[in-house]
C-alpha cells in the first residue's frame, strides 16, 4: 500500500497512451503479446542510519502481461495484467541517536509480505482525424483495492502535424491495513482521485517533434500512511504536472534522441523537476542499444520531519516519510533490444541512487531512509 493512488494517473493517459504523431491514427494491423519479468532490490541500510533492528529493505518481483490487438477495422483492444510480490522491511518511525542524529527504525522483514494484482481493459476507436478511448481497471493488494476508469480523445489539425489530446479519469480506492487493531491503525478508509489531462503534440520537421502536456489531479480522503507510527497528512491534495517531450532522429548515426522534462507541484508543498535523456542507437537491422540517464529533484512537504515528535497533538500534520523529504536522485539504465522477426527481446539493467546531497533545493531536514536499488528486467514481445 502507498498513500497516494496511481490508478488515476494511469488512466489519464494509458492504453490511450500519449498521443502519437498523426501517422499512428490507425488501429494496429497485427496483435502483439508482451511479457516482462523484473526484479529490483533496495540496498540495505547502514547501521549508522538504523542503529537497532532490521537493515534489509524491499525486494520486489514484477510480472507484466500485455495484449494489443485490432478489433475490426476501426478499433483496437488493450489488455494489461500485472502481478507483483514484495518482501522486506520499510521505515516505521524516526528518532534521534545517542549523538543527536536522526535515525530510522524499520519494521521487521519477517512480518512484511505483500502482493498486488491488477487487470485493466481498454479500447480505442479510430476516426479519420483522431481517436477516442476508454478503459477500466481494478487493482487489489492484501490491504488495498482500487477501481478506476478513464476516457481520452485526440484530434489532429494542421494537415495532421498537430495533435490535441484531452483525458479524464477517476479512481476510487479502499484501504484496510493489516494488523490494524494490534497496532492501533485505521481499520478501513477510502480515497478518491480525479484527474484531467491535456496535451499538444507538434511535428517540427521531418526528423523532430515536440509535445507539451498538463495534468491536474485532485485527491481527497485518507492520504496518510497507516503503517507509520505517526503519520498525519491533510485529507485533500491537488497535484499539477507539466511535461515536455522532444524527439529527434539523427539520420547520419541511425539513432533517436528522447529528451523529457517534467515540473511538478502539489499543495503539500512539494515541487520537483525531472529530466531524462535516452539515446536509441540502431545497430544493423536487429539490435538496438538504449542508454538512459535521469535526474530527479524534489523539495520537502511542509509537514515533513526527520525526527518524529510523538508529543505533537494528533491534529497537527506530521510525516517522516522519506518520500516527502528534500532529495535528489540519479539513475542510469541500459537496454539491449534484439528484433528477431516476430519476436523482440529486451534486457534492461538499472541503478538508482537517491541522496539529499544530490538536491539543488536547500536541505534543512535530511532524511535517513532514502532508497538505492538495482533493477534487472527481461521482456519478450510476440507479433502475430
Amino acid at each position: 500500500m502507498k498513500n497516494a493512488s496511481r490508478s488515476i494517473i494511469a488512466l489519464s493517459s494509458t492504453a490511450m497512451a500519449l498521443p502519437g504523431i498523426a501517422l499512428s491514427d490507425a488501429p494496429p494491423t497485427q496483435s502483439t503479446v508482451s511479457y516482462k519479468l523484473s526484479n529490483y532490490q533496495e540496498d540495505d541500510l547502514s547501521r549508522s542510519e538504523a542503529p537497532i533492528g532490521e537493515l534489509e529493505r524491499y525486494e520486489i518481483d514484477v510480472h507484466q502481461f500485455q495484449l494489443v490487438s485490432p478489433l475490426g477495422r476501426n478499433m483496437s483492444l488493450h489488455v494489461d495484467a500485472n502481478y507483483e510480490s514484495l518482501s522486506g522491511a520499510s521505515p516505521w518511525f524516526t528518532s534521534r541517536s545517542l549523538d543527536g542524529e536522526p535515525v530510522v527504525n524499520l519494521s521487521g522483514p519477517s512480518g512484511i509480505w505483500d502482493r498486488r494484482a491488477e487487470l485493466s481493459v481498454g479500447s480505442r476507436f479510430y476516426l479519420e482525424n483522431g481517436s477516442f478511448a476508454g478503459k477500466i481497471g481494478y487493482s487489489e493488494e492484501n490491504d488495498y483495492s482500487a477501481f478506476s476508469f478513464g476516457l481520452n480523445g485526440e484530434k489532429n489539425y494542421n494537415n495532421d502535424l498537430t495533435t490535441v489530446s484531452v483525458g479524464l479519469s477517476y479512481s476510487s480506492d479502499q484501504i484496510f491495513p493489516t494488523d490494524a487493531a494490534l497496532f492501533n491503525r485505521v481499520i478501513e478508509d477510502d480515497k478518491q482521485s480525479t484527474s484531467v489531462f491535456f496535451s499538444v503534440s507538434q511535428v517540427i520537421n521531418q526528423v523532430s517533434s515536440f509535445q507539451s502536456a498538463l495534468s491536474i489531479t485532485e485527491q481527497s480522503g485518507f492520504l496518510s500512511d497507516p503503517y507509520k507510527l505517526r503519520d498525519i497528512r491533510p485529507d485533500n491534495k491537488t497535484q499539477i504536472a507539466w511535461s515536455n517531450s522532444y524527439r529527434r532522429f539523427f539520420v547520419s548515426t541511425n539513432a533517436a534522441l528522447h529528451a523529457n522534462y517534467r515540473y511538478y507541484h502539489d499543495d503539500f508543498g512539494v515541487n520537483s523537476h525531472t529530466s531524462d535523456l535516452s539515446w536509441y542507437q540502431n545497430l544493423g537491422r536487429t539490435l538496438q542499444l538504449v542508454p538512459t540517464l535521469r535526474y530527479y529533484n524534489q523539495s520537502a512537504a511542509n509537514f515533513f520531519t526527520n525526527v518524529d515528535n510523538f508529543l505533537n497533538p494528533i491534529s497537527e500534520y506530521q510525516s517522516s516519510d522519506y518520500r516527502l523529504s528534500t532529495f535528489g536522485a540519479v539513475s542510469g539504465s541500459l537496454s539491449v533490444i534484439a528484433d528477431m522477426g516476430s519476436w523482440t527481446a529486451t534486457l534492461t539493467a538499472e541503478r538508482y541512487l537517491a541522496d539529499d546531497k544530490y538536491s539543488a533545493f536547500e536541505v534543512s531536514k535530511p532524511s535517513t531512509a532514502l532508497v538505492k536499488y538495482n533493477r534487472i528486467s527481461l521482456g519478450i514481445d510476440f507479433r502475430f
Binding site: 502507498k2 490508478s7 524491499y58 500485455q66 507538434q202 511535428v203 507539466w242 511535461s243 533517436a256
Partner: protein
Amino acid sequence: MRQLRATLLLSICSLMLISCAEVKAWERGYLAREEMAWDPNSLESSLNDHIFFSKEASSGGNSTAGGGCGCN
C-alpha cells in the same frame, strides 16, 4: 504558483516560436519509426513510472500504466 505560471507561459511561447516546417505525409518516414514514438516501450515506461511513483513524491504528466497503489 507564480513559478508554474511562468513555466506555462514559457511553454506556450516556445510552442508558438517553434518554426514548424510543412512536412508532407510522404516525408514522415523518420517520424513514424518506432524509436521516435512518445512511448516506444509501454511496459518499460509503466514499470519505471510505477517504481518512481513508489520512491518519490511526484507523479502525473506521464504515460503510465497500472492501478492500485504499490507500496514498494
